[in-house]
């Protein structure tokens, strides 16, 4: 069998985003919690990479760390983040500001609360031109109208003068996407961009992300808890659990041969048309609190196939070429 090689990886240039052994800690009254623990991930040009996991898995914290927009209590305590080879954690705040909205941009989860309620849409969409290109507002507004048209918003000229509350959910997410796209960033970070939208609108937004990738070879990091979204739009997927990456690989391969019990459980918990008649298997138990993580496999408490050696955490083990899973079962089966 021909093993699939990550098709957009290139040898002559670094990935757009390389997260290298990243650890992020929260410092709160309850103590110290390592919410992102030794995470490695890459996004190559023209690739849509999914990071999937339930709430508390550390996926959003990973994404916000890239932009350095984490909450104040969070701190990067180890590892590196490189944007096209430039190490970000060592940059000053002013240098980070030059990159944000310019070479990397965010599409947030809830487009209503992410838009300023007292500013017209056009002004918000055009602002990156003023911030980074020193455009005059008039020119920036023209750019905003162009961008709103590019994300298929009807009547962009009229709509640019309206306020967020006059927009529907799908239109707001289009506006947010237009804003993120404004300066054609190398990296788009979409944090659950479809969660707040209904299903038909979700499909439109995902299609839009695909278009952007195809037209500009933009690298897109898509954070989601929805396997359907990953299956529909991603090339590559990382599964996160309790701050760790537990499985990674090309989407088709990973969905066909899920190799970590957590990924298997996630797939079993997802409704599909074929399985509509059978009962969905909820995953028993809950994600461990980041304040009380032991040395063993973090999924062990909820795992039906746990072994004695799960008291020690496994490394990421190869399932197939470029398909890795953090589970001892892979060694057991190989005998």
């Amino acid at each position: 069998m021909q093993e699939q090689i990550r098709p957009r990886r290139r040898l002559d240039s670094p990935p757009v985003l390389a997260v290298d052994n990243l650890s992020v800690q929260l410092q709160t009254r309850q103590g110290t919690a390592r919410v992102v623990d030794g995470v490695n991930l890459e996004v190559w040009p023209g690739e849509i990479v999914g990071v999937i996991g339930e709430s508390g898995s550390g996926k959003t914290m990973t994404a916000l760390s890239v932009l350095r927009l984490m909450p104040q209590v969070a701190r990067i305590v180890g590892g590196d983040i490189r944007l096209s080879g430039t190490s970000l954690p060592s940059l000053s705040d002013a240098q980070m500001r030059k990159l944000r909205g310019n070479r990397m941009a965010l599409i947030p989860q809830d487009p209503l609360s992410a838009l300023n309620p007292v500013q017209p849409i056009g002004r918000q969409v055009g602002e990156p031109f003023v911030l980074h290109r020193r455009s005059r507002w008039q020119a920036a507004l023209q750019q905003a109208v162009r961008l709103l048209g590019a994300v298929h918003l009807p009547l962009p000229e009229t709509r640019a003068a309206e306020y967020p509350h006059q927009f529907s959910g799908g239109m707001r997410q289009r506006a947010m996407t237009a804003m993120a796209l404004a300066l054609e960033p190398d990296l788009l970070i979409a944090d659950e961009p479809t969660t707040a939208l209904d299903v038909t609108i979700q499909a439109q937004v995902l299609r839009l992300l695909g278009e952007i990738r195809d037209e500009h070879a933009t690298a897109i990091l898509l954070i989601t808890h929805d396997l359907g979204v990953v299956a529909e739009s991603c090339d590559w997927v990382y599964v996160m659990y309790a701050g760790r990456i537990v499985e990674e690989g090309p989407v088709g391969r990973l969905f066909a041969h899920p190799s970590h019990p957590y990924t298997q459980a996630l797939l079993n918990a997802t409704p599909s048309i074929e399985l509509a008649q059978t009962e969905l298997a909820a995953i028993p138990g809950r994600i461990p609190s980041p304040y009380e993580i032991g040395p063993g496999c973090r999924f062990a408490d909820r795992c039906a196939q746990r072994l004695a050696r799960c008291a020690q955490e496994p490394p990421l083990l190869p399932v197939a070429a470029e398909h890795l899973a953090r589970c001892w079962l892979l060694e057991e089966s190989r005998g």
Partner: protein, 318 residues
């Protein structure tokens, strides 16, 4: 927007009517009598009866009220019991003094509250926030008259930077007018900045934690653009409402402050009215103050509607 103005103006009439009734009752309920105040405690019962009969004070209260109201509506504020001078022109002459003082004090309060409140909010839970909040609490705990005394001692007597009292109309000598009003305005403004600062800080903290602020940072905006262009307008909408209430409070505080600084404003007229039980003076000046405060509330409501596109939208939908 036009609808909003019309509706608010229509509410004006009943509000003022009710206020005038409450005022009239309150003034007549307070102990002491106009006759005794005017004629002295040694006045004979006959003299008191004659005085009250001449001024119509022996008639039922509601008759007096409606008579007074009818006259006020015609622009006649009556004549002072004390010196038989028409009250209307007196109020007209004093209103600008009080208005200028209150506006100046309000300006000072906001100049302290808005930037410091925003600054504290941005540095939420850091030492500078604690210091600013503590100062605000201190300011809020100081009574205005004591603040006035302190300022007179410090700026007036010790440093001799500012005159300790008196008044010159703005038209005669603008510089001197402002020098004279600065201390009274500071006494009121600093004290009233305390509440405004805390409101500003609380609103700003809430706004700064919202998603659209993260969006602004994600676009690469620096903190000052985020605060002044993205957060301030959102924080001002609820802040304004409190500001209007605070302005009403300022107008109340004016009474004592004008007396301390020898300002010929409405506040000192109210004080004279109370001491002399001079009902026409007292009633009319308080009524005028009420109208001013209500007008300001109206302006603030309209301003909030201008600042918040959602409000105009919601109201035009109705």
């Amino acid at each position: 927007m036009l609808r909003l103005i019309v509706v608010r103006l229509a509410w004006f009439v009943p509000t003022i009517l009710v206020t005038s009734m409450v005022l009239f009752l309150a003034v007549n309920v307070i102990p002491g009598s106009a006759a005794k105040a005017a004629l002295g405690i040694d006045a004979t019962p006959q003299a008191i009866a004659r005085f009250e009969h001449e001024l119509g004070l022996d008639r039922p209260l509601y008759v007096q009220y409606f008579e007074w109201l009818a006259k006020v509506l015609q622009g006649d504020f009556g004549t002072s019991f004390q010196n038989r001078v028409p009250v209307g022109p007196e109020i007209l002459a004093r209103l600008p003094v009080t208005l200028e003082l209150a506006l100046l004090a309000f300006l000072i309060a906001n100049l302290i509250a808005v930037p410091l409140g925003a600054f504290a909010a941005y540095h939420h839970q850091r030492p500078v926030d604690t210091v600013i909040s503590a100062i605000a609490t201190l300011f809020g705990a100081i009574p205005t008259f004591w603040m006035a005394t302190l300022l007179i001692l410090l700026l007036g007597m010790t440093l001799r930077w500012l005159p300790a009292g008196g008044y010159v109309p703005f038209a005669d000598n603008p510089a001197m007018n402002l020098r004279l009003l600065l201390m009274p305005a500071l006494s009121l403004g600093v004290v009233s900045s305390a509440l405004l600062l805390r409101i500003m800080r609380a609103e700003m903290i809430e706004v700064l934690s919202s998603d659209y602020i993260r969006t602004a940072f994600a676009k690469g905006a620096n903190p000052s653009i985020v605060i002044w262009k993205h957060a301030l307008r959102n924080s001002l909408i609820p802040f304004l409402t409190v500001g209007a209430v605070e302005f009403g409070w300022l107008f109340g505080g004016v009474v004592i402050i004008e007396d301390i600084f020898l300002l010929p404003g409405l506040g000192s007229l109210v004080l004279v009215g109370i001491i002399n039980r001079d009902y026409p003076v007292l009633l009319s000046s308080v009524l005028v103050i009420t109208v001013v405060v209500l007008t300001l509330n109206l302006v603030v409501d309209l301003l909030a509607a201008v600042l918040d596109p959602r409000q105009v939208y919601a109201r035009s939908e109705q």
